[in-house]
C-alpha cells in the first residue's frame, strides 16, 4: 500500500514536470509564430506572457472546481488530450488566421493579443488544469497540505524553467518550430493518455 502511493506520487510529479516543460516550450514557440506577423518587439512578448498567465489562472480555477466535483483523473486526461490535439492543429491554420487578423483587426495591441489568445489560450488553460488535480489527488491529509502544494508547484515550475531554457537554447537551434510543436503536442497527449488509462490507479485510496 505504501509503495503503491509512492509510485502514484512519482507519476503525478513526473506529469507535473513534463507538462510544465511543454507549457513554457509552447510559450517560446508562440513567439516564433507571432514575430513574422506582429513584429519582434516587446509588445509581442507582453501579449504572449499575459496570455500564458491568463491561461494559467483560468486553468487553476477550472481545475480546482472540476477536481472537487469529480476527482476524476480520466477527465483531466481527456482535457489534456484536447489541448494536445489543438496544439497539433496550429500549423494547419496559423498562417491563414494571422493573415486575416492583420487585415481585420490590425497589428497593434488588440491584434497581437487576439493572435496570442487564439494560438495558446485554450490549450494552455486545459494544460494547467492538471496542477490542482495533482494536488487534490495526492492530498489525503490536511496536515501536510502546505508542503504538498509547495512541492507540486515547485516541480511544475522547475518544468517551466527547463522548458524555457532547453527549448530556446537546445531545441530551436536544431529543429523547426512546426516539428517542435508536434512533439510537444504529442507529449501532452501522452500525459493525457496516462491519466485516462491509469484512472483507477491515480485515484488511489479514495477510489
Amino acid at each position: 500500500m505504501k509503495s503503491h502511493s509512492l509510485l502514484r506520487g512519482f507519476v503525478l510529479f513526473a506529469l507535473a514536470l513534463v507538462l510544465g516543460f511543454a507549457l513554457m516550450g509552447f510559450e517560446m514557440l508562440g513567439s516564433r509564430y507571432l514575430y513574422p506577423y506582429f513584429g519582434g518587439g516587446i509588445n509581442t512578448w507582453a501579449s504572449l506572457i499575459a496570455t500564458v498567465l491568463v491561461a494559467l489562472m483560468l486553468g487553476y480555477l477550472l481545475g480546482g472546481a472540476l477536481v472537487d466535483r469529480t476527482l476524476s483523473p480520466r477527465l483531466c486526461g481527456l482535457l489534456l488530450i484536447v489541448a494536445g490535439g489543438y496544439l497539433m492543429s496550429i500549423p494547419l491554420w496559423v498562417d491563414a488566421l494571422f493573415d486575416w487578423t492583420l487585415r481585420a483587426i490590425g497589428d497593434d495591441m488588440a491584434g497581437i493579443i487576439f493572435g496570442a489568445t487564439t494560438l495558446l489560450l485554450l490549450p494552455l488553460t486545459l494544460m494547467s488544469v492538471f496542477t490542482p488535480f495533482a494536488v487534490r489527488l495526492l492530498l489525503t491529509s490536511v496536515s501536510y497540505g502546505g508542503r504538498l502544494v509547495g512541492v507540486v508547484y515547485g516541480i511544475s515550475t522547475i518544468g517551466n524553467v527547463l522548458g524555457t531554457l532547453v527549448t530556446v537554447f537546445a531545441f530551436m537551434p536544431m529543429f523547426g518550430s512546426r516539428a517542435l510543436t508536434m512533439v510537444f503536442a504529442a507529449v501532452t497527449i501522452g500525459c493525457g493518455a496516462v491519466m485516462v488509462l491509469c484512472d483507477r490507479f491515480l485515484r488511489g485510496a479514495e477510489a
Binding site: Y35, F38, G39, I42, D107, V161, T164, F175
Partner: protein, 308 residues
C-alpha cells in the same frame, strides 16, 4: 517562471558600470534614451556624432556622422549600399528598412531630388534622435514610417525600385527579417528590375545562411566587401555581365554626379558562387546560434567568384 525580465535587468545592472568604464575620455555621452526596443546612446567626439545600441559601444554602432561634413558617408558599407541605385531601370521610389541616423537616405535624397524615399524604422526614438543629432530632415520626398519592416511590407502593396535593408538591433537581426518568407515578401514589393540591398555581417556562420536564404529567393546575388560588413544585392533574372553593370553605374553616376562614384564601387563586385549555408525559414531560423559561431575573417570570399 517569469524570470526573463528579471535576468534582463540584472544583466543591465551588471553591465552598466563596465560600459561607463569602457568609454574613452574624448568621447562624451550626449544623450542616453531607453526606448521600447533599445538602449540608445548618442556619443560626441569633437567632430563626430555616433549612435550606438545596447551595451557595447565599440561593436554595435548604428550610425555615425562628421559634423564638419555631414554629407559624407563615414561608415564604409553604407557607401556600398548606395550602389543599389545603379541596378534598376528607373529610380522613382526607394524604401529603406532600418533608419539609424538616416545618413544613407539623407545622402540619396540629396543626390536624387526627384526620387521618393521612405524609411521604415521600428523605433520612434531612433527617428527622433536622428532628427536631433544627425540632421535628418523629413521632406515631401523623404519620409519615415514607424513600423516593423515586415509588418510594413505586408500591409503596404506599393512597389519599390530599390529596397535597402539594414535592420540591426545591436548585434542581431530579428529572425523574421532574415527568412525565405521575408525575402519572398520583399521580392513581391519590387518593381520590375528592382533590387534588394542587404547589409550582412560576415564574421559568423549567420553570413552563410543569410546569403543562402537570399539566393533561395533571388537567382542573382552580388557581394561587395565593405571592410567589416558585406553588402549583398539580390535581383531577379540572370546575373548581370560586369560591362553591363559598369555601363549602368556610369549612366547613373553621370546623371546624378554622386559623391561616392558608383563605377568605383561596382568594380569591387564579387558573385556569390557556392552556397555554403542552410536556408532560413520562418519555421527554422536559429539566428542567435548561427551568429555565435565565429568564422575566420575573410573566409566568406572563398565562396565568391569574380564577375564576368
Amino acid at each position: 517562471m517569469r524570470s526573463g525580465a528579471a535576468w534582463g535587468s540584472a544583466l543591465v545592472v551588471v553591465l552598466l558600470p563596465w560600459l561607463a568604464a569602457s568609454l574613452s575620455a574624448a568621447e562624451k555621452l550626449l544623450e542616453k534614451r531607453e526606448s521600447l526596443y533599445n538602449n540608445i546612446f548618442i556619443f560626441g567626439d569633437g567632430d563626430t556624432v555616433t549612435m550606438t545600441f545596447g551595451q557595447n559601444k565599440r561593436y554595435y554602432t548604428e550610425s555615425s556622422m562628421k559634423l564638419s561634413d555631414p554629407g559624407a558617408l563615414t561608415v564604409d558599407y553604407t557607401r556600398l549600399m548606395t550602389l543599389g541605385i545603379a541596378y534598376p531601370p528607373k529610380l522613382e521610389r526607394i524604401l529603406e528598412i532600418g533608419l539609424g541616423g538616416g545618413r544613407t537616405v539623407s545622402y540619396l535624397s540629396a543626390a536624387l531630388p526627384d526620387t521618393a524615399i521612405l524609411a521604415v524604422e521600428l523605433d520612434k526614438e531612433v527617428v527622433d534622435l536622428a532628427k536631433k543629432y544627425f540632421r535628418f530632415k523629413e521632406t515631401a520626398k523623404l519620409r519615415t514610417v514607424v513600423s516593423d519592416g515586415r509588418r510594413f511590407l505586408m500591409r503596404d502593396d506599393d512597389k519599390w525600385d530599390v529596397i535597402l535593408i539594414d535592420a540591426y538591433r545591436g548585434p542581431f537581426v530579428p529572425f523574421h527579417l532574415l527568412t525565405r518568407e521575408f525575402y519572398t515578401l520583399v521580392k513581391s514589393r519590387l518593381a520590375p528590375g528592382g533590387v534588394v540591398v542587404q547589409n550582412i555581417e560576415p564574421s559568423t556562420m549567420l553570413f552563410d545562411s543569410a546569403t543562402a536564404t537570399l539566393r533561395s529567393v533571388f537567382p542573382s546575388v552580388d557581394l561587395y566587401d565593405g571592410g567589416g560588413n558585406v553588402v549583398a544585392i539580390g535581383y531577379e533574372g540572370p546575373t548581370l555581365r560586369q560591362n553591363e553593370l559598369l555601363a549602368r553605374a556610369a549612366r547613373v553616376q553621370e546623371r546624378y554626379n554622386l559623391r561616392y562614384d558608383l563605377r568605383t564601387i561596382a568594380a569591387g563586385r564579387r558573385l556569390l558562387g557556392r552556397v555554403a549555408g542552410k536556408v532560413m525559414t520562418d519555421d527554422f531560423a536559429p539566428v542567435e546560434t548561427l551568429r555565435a559561431i565565429e568564422q575566420h575573417n575573410e573566409k566568406w570570399k572563398e565562396h565568391t567568384e569574380a564577375p564576368r
